[in-house]
Symmetry: C2
Subunit: 201 residues, 2 copies
């Protein structure tokens, strides 16, 4: 029976290790790259080689071109307000809003005991270190998804930070109806929460 050449199988195998790529898509991607030819493959290889020049920021853990990231080394950013996020993608999303002038802390995941992700597997200890009294942090903004794992992680961090430094104000992003959404299509939990947390105008 015909099978793909060994080197194509190897490429399919490597591609299928990437997240969200199943075996059929890996096959299709590998054949696509093969049909594009060696220059296209080389361009991707070269970009992969650049990984070695990318670092984690010493302070916030975000992806950085240098030892300290562009946000942490920016004198104009408010070092007293830390926005805690699950992933580097969230930093980019929040930066696009233009509503946070402080710094960040990237957890790289959320607490999820069922998947064996415990507080020690996340960058929570580093956050507690940043919360010590000598660091002059005023506020920690938990920009964490409103999910079961997000709630658990938020509660854990709030408890731990309060213990380390009771002077820090801990906030979490507001729950409510998305802008432009239609009430008749809103889910019950979101709508219920929006009613409970209604604001006087």
């Amino acid at each position: 029976m015909y099978t793909y050449p060994f080197k194509l199988e190897k490429l399919i195998n490597e591609i299928s290790k990437l997240p969200g790529i199943g075996p059929k898509m890996a096959e299709r991607t590998a054949i696509y790259i093969f049909k594009k030819g060696q220059p296209a493959a080389d361009a991707l290889s070269e970009a992969l080689g650049g990984i070695k020049d990318i670092k984690f920021c010493d302070i916030c853990g975000n992806i950085s071109a240098a030892g300290t990231c562009a946000v942490c080394s920016d004198e104009k950013r408010d070092k007293g307000a830390i926005c805690v996020v699950e992933s580097p993608e969230d930093v980019i999303t929040i930066e696009h809003t233009g509503k946070h002038s402080g710094v960040y802390h990237v957890l790289y995941g959320l607490i999820n005991p069922l998947n064996n992700i415990l507080p020690d597997n996340l960058k929570i200890r580093q956050l507690l270190k940043r919360s010590e009294k000598t660091e002059n942090i005023r506020e920690i903004i938990l920009a964490i998804n409103h999910t079961v794992e997000g709630d658990a992680t938020s509660l854990y961090i709030a408890d731990a930070v309060k213990t380390a430094n009771p002077d820090i104000k801990i906030t979490r992003l507001a729950k409510g109806l998305p802008t432009g959404s239609d009430i008749k299509y809103a889910d019950e939990i979101t709508l219920g929460q929006a009613i409970l947390e209604r604001k006087e105008i």
Copy 2:
């Protein structure tokens, strides 16, 4: 405003060129590779380097480790029956059925004038060359999807082969109900075709 380091942007850009990968997935994939570290990136790079050792088969156009693919160079395969397919993935799928003992011809696409894919953009000329009288081909099996583009491509090939060599029998895969399917959920066109092409048992 914080943006990703240049080298990460470059990797995201290269990954987003792959088929079926949107900008968000490219971002997630690049960060995943970065978090896995350089050895994981190197493994993928090395596999990409293997592309240069993969070839198109001189005869059938399929992906091959050598100039002639494993099927075309196999003496046990029936060289008189050519199964025509759209892509290399289809060869693998048909091989898994174990029902075709002949050889293949890979078109690399289907005729689609709206997307500017004309017969000359596919490997149809090579198929006509293989269909010449001196090559002793008995049958050409069109294993092409039952879609508008598939129908157009099948008709075009059937016409062209008949002109080149009227002795060749041209067949197309049967239309009908899939094995294990439920009549009440079948679409009208498939069911209608299955009725028209009913077989005496």
